[in-house]
């Protein structure tokens, strides 16, 4: 099997393995940061496929490399947005854990909507216009 292989096909297989590894891990793990990293690893796997395709011709193909650079910038965009969202969610959860004693239990219902209505972290109890 190894004899019929050339460099490009080898990297295409590595790319497929990395993509599948990242995708399966993304769907199975629950921790938010682990999922974000798994998503980014899947992105790297797909981009690895594109660069391996670009490297088939003697001078590596310019259009496919430009596509990969575009893909890289999109990857940093969605990873940045995901990181800020994780930070806000875990900031909110730190508050819930810290503020559990003084909050009435029924307010603690995890329903996304009721949570949003009172919306405010206790120590910032400004007038929440309703």
């Amino acid at each position: 099997m190894l004899t019929g292989l050339d460099t490009i096909t080898w990297y295409l297989m590595i790319a497929a393995a990395v993509t599948v590894f990242g995708m399966v891990r993304l769907l199975l793990v629950r921790d938010l940061l682990a999922r974000l990293i798994a998503l980014d690893v899947t992105g790297i796997g797909v981009l690895l496929t594109l660069v391996a395709l670009a490297a088939r011709s003697q001078a590596p193909d310019a259009v496919l490399q430009a596509l990969v650079i575009t893909g890289l910038v999109i990857a940093v965009a969605f990873t940045g947005l995901g990181a800020v969202l994780i930070r806000r969610i875990e900031g909110a959860r730190d508050d819930d854990d810290a503020a559990v004693p003084d909050r009435a239990p029924d307010e603690q219902t995890p329903g996304a909507d009721s949570e949003q209505d009172h919306g405010l972290s206790p120590h910032d109890q400004g007038g929440d216009p309703q």
Binding site: L26, L50, F78, L85, A92, D113, S114, Q116, D124, G126
Partner: protein
């Protein structure tokens, strides 16, 4: 076609994407009140730009823009065929009404953490919404596979950010939506990579010609599977729909209609481009059997979505999740027609009928669902909750709103004068033509269940509530204007019902057969 008109159509092909993008950029520099005025003005401009496109397509032409003057394999082509014109028009109509709705009601923009705690009205809504609108138009007119990926990513990221404007409750739903949307786009990109390795070109029309000669059907088949899986995630087909309900119901009231009405359609348009335009199904018998099997799988998932989504909607106690589950059910209808689109014996009349049905259902759903979600959002912002029990008797203060919700329900159920009815009728005739009787059963059951859960959502609003209604503050002028926006969408649901025939031959322009 007089040349000046077709030149205007070509110009507006690029302008329809770049004008809202320029407005999104400029709106980041101006304060909030100016952003609302800018948003409304650009909404009108984009709607105006769509008119020459629709006129030139209905006259039988396919306006095509060669960007930068570089021909297909090197450069990018933008095309507006029948499918493109229909979705440009629907996006412009619904987008313009929702822009007015959000400009009038500050609560519709979301909740932002002001100095005195959580305030209503969010400055971040406008650049993100205009960026999303530009992305939607980019996806619909693009003729290049990688450009479709960039457009899908633009729509996906702005949609995630718009959900996150809903304050603390919506961040988790937004992050979950981000994971699914981006994974879907990456799978689509993997499919594009596979296609490029086999055909050597990125342009959709050239991919079709190149794939016609390709001998072994394996790579195009795997590419089609990858694209279908990725776009199925983004369009929330049944097994992959769990991100949709929390995202759409916790989003601000101005954003939910955008998500359910417009953003879901972008994935559907790309799926149709991939299935019908890019990968010709006239391959060898062996590949055709596999594609048949895949189409039947999509049909089965569609049927499961129609029935499962409707039953889940029946069990909801709050209005916005009910409407969100209704979206999951309605998505099932579009995939129900896939087995007919890829029918074995190749008669194009049947495929054209099924294709017209899918587009009519999707367009009708866009208008009706946007109206219903906007109404539900308005009630939630006004009464603080969308519990159906708590909203009992709210109809007394909002007669016009309930009428508009009724009209939208007509469109969603598929009663006669609406695009929903046209779509279901064409789907039924195509199913009978192909002898697929089970489709009729699913259609009937879906219609009944839709009537069930929609009435279950709207009826309590009309009943007289036993305890005297809470001393609700009088309905402000802004809320009346918001209600008139919902009424516009309700009337549009009925109005577009009359255009069924015109829609049929508009779709014939530049179709794949």
């Amino acid at each position: 076609m007089i040349p000046v008109w077709s030149a205007l159509a070509e110009f507006s092909l690029g302008a329809v994407v770049l004008a809202p993008l320029l407005a999104a950029a400029v709106s980041m520099l101006v304060p909030l009140p100016a952003r609302r005025v800018l948003g409304a003005a650009v909404g009108l401009l984009v709607a105006g730009l769509v008119v020459p496109l629709v006129v030139s397509v209905s006259a039988g032409e396919v306006p095509e823009l060669v960007l930068g003057g570089f021909e297909a394999p090197v450069g990018i082509h933008l095309r507006a065929d029948g499918l493109g014109a229909v979705f440009l028009a629907v996006t412009a109509l619904v987008g313009l009404v929702l822009t007015g709705y959000a400009a009038v009601l500050p609560a519709a923009e979301g909740r932002c953490a002001g100095p005195k705690g959580w305030q209503q009205g969010h400055p971040g809504f406008w650049p993100l919404w205009l960026g999303c609108w530009s992305g939607l138009n980019a996806v619909v007119v693009s003729g290049d596979l990688f450009n479709l990926y960039v457009g899908l990513e633009l729509v996906g990221l702005t949609a995630v950010a718009l959900v996150a404007l809903g304050g603390r409750g919506s961040w988790e739903a937004a992050l979950r939506y981000l994971f699914v949307a981006v994974l879907g786009s990456l799978l689509f990109l993997a499919g594009v990579g596979l296609l490029v390795s086999v055909t050597g070109t990125l342009d959709i029309a050239q991919t079709r010609e190149a794939l016609a000669e390709v001998a072994d059907p394996e790579a195009p088949l795997l590419a089609l599977v990858l694209m279908t899986l990725g776009l199925g995630m983004k369009a929330a087909l049944l097994p992959m729909h769990r991100w949709l309900v929390p995202a759409h119901s916790s989003a601000p009231s101005g954003v939910s209609p955008i998500l359910s009405g417009l953003v879901i359609k972008a994935a559907l348009v790309v799926l149709l481009r991939a299935w019908l335009w890019a990968v010709p199904l006239s391959g060898g018998a062996q590949s055709h059997a596999a594609v048949q099997w895949l189409a039947w799988l999509l049909g089965a998932l569609g049927a499961a979505a129609v029935l499962g989504g409707s039953v889940l909607a029946l069990r909801q106690t709050r209005l916005k999740p009910l409407v969100a589950y209704s979206t999951v059910a309605q998505i099932g209808y579009w995939f129900l027609a896939f087995p007919l689109l890829v029918s074995a014996e190749h008669d194009d009349a049947l495929a054209a009928g099924a294709y017209g049905a899918v587009i009519a259902l999707a367009a009708g759903h866009a208008i009706a669902k946007a109206g219903l979600f906007a109404a539900a959002g308005l009630l939630k912002d006004r009464y603080g909750t969308d519990e159906i029990a708590a909203l009992r008797g709210a109809g007394a203060h909002h007669p016009a709103l309930i009428l508009a919700m009724g009209l939208c329900a007509v469109g969603l159920i598929g009663l006669p004068v609406s695009l929903g009815f046209t779509g279901k009728w064409q789907l039924a005739t195509a199913a009978i033509g192909a002898g697929q009787w089970w489709l009729i059963v699913v259609l009937a059951a879906g219609t009944l269940l839709a009537a069930g859960y929609l009435l279950r959502g709207i009826a309590p609003l009309l009943l007289q509530s036993e305890d005297e209604p809470a001393a609700a503050k009088p309905v402000s002028v802004r809320e009346r204007l918001g209600e008139s926006a919902v009424m516009l969408l309700g009337l549009a649901t009925i109005g577009t019902g009359l255009l069924g025939a015109w829609l049929g031959d508009l779709l014939g322009v530049g179709a794949w057969w």
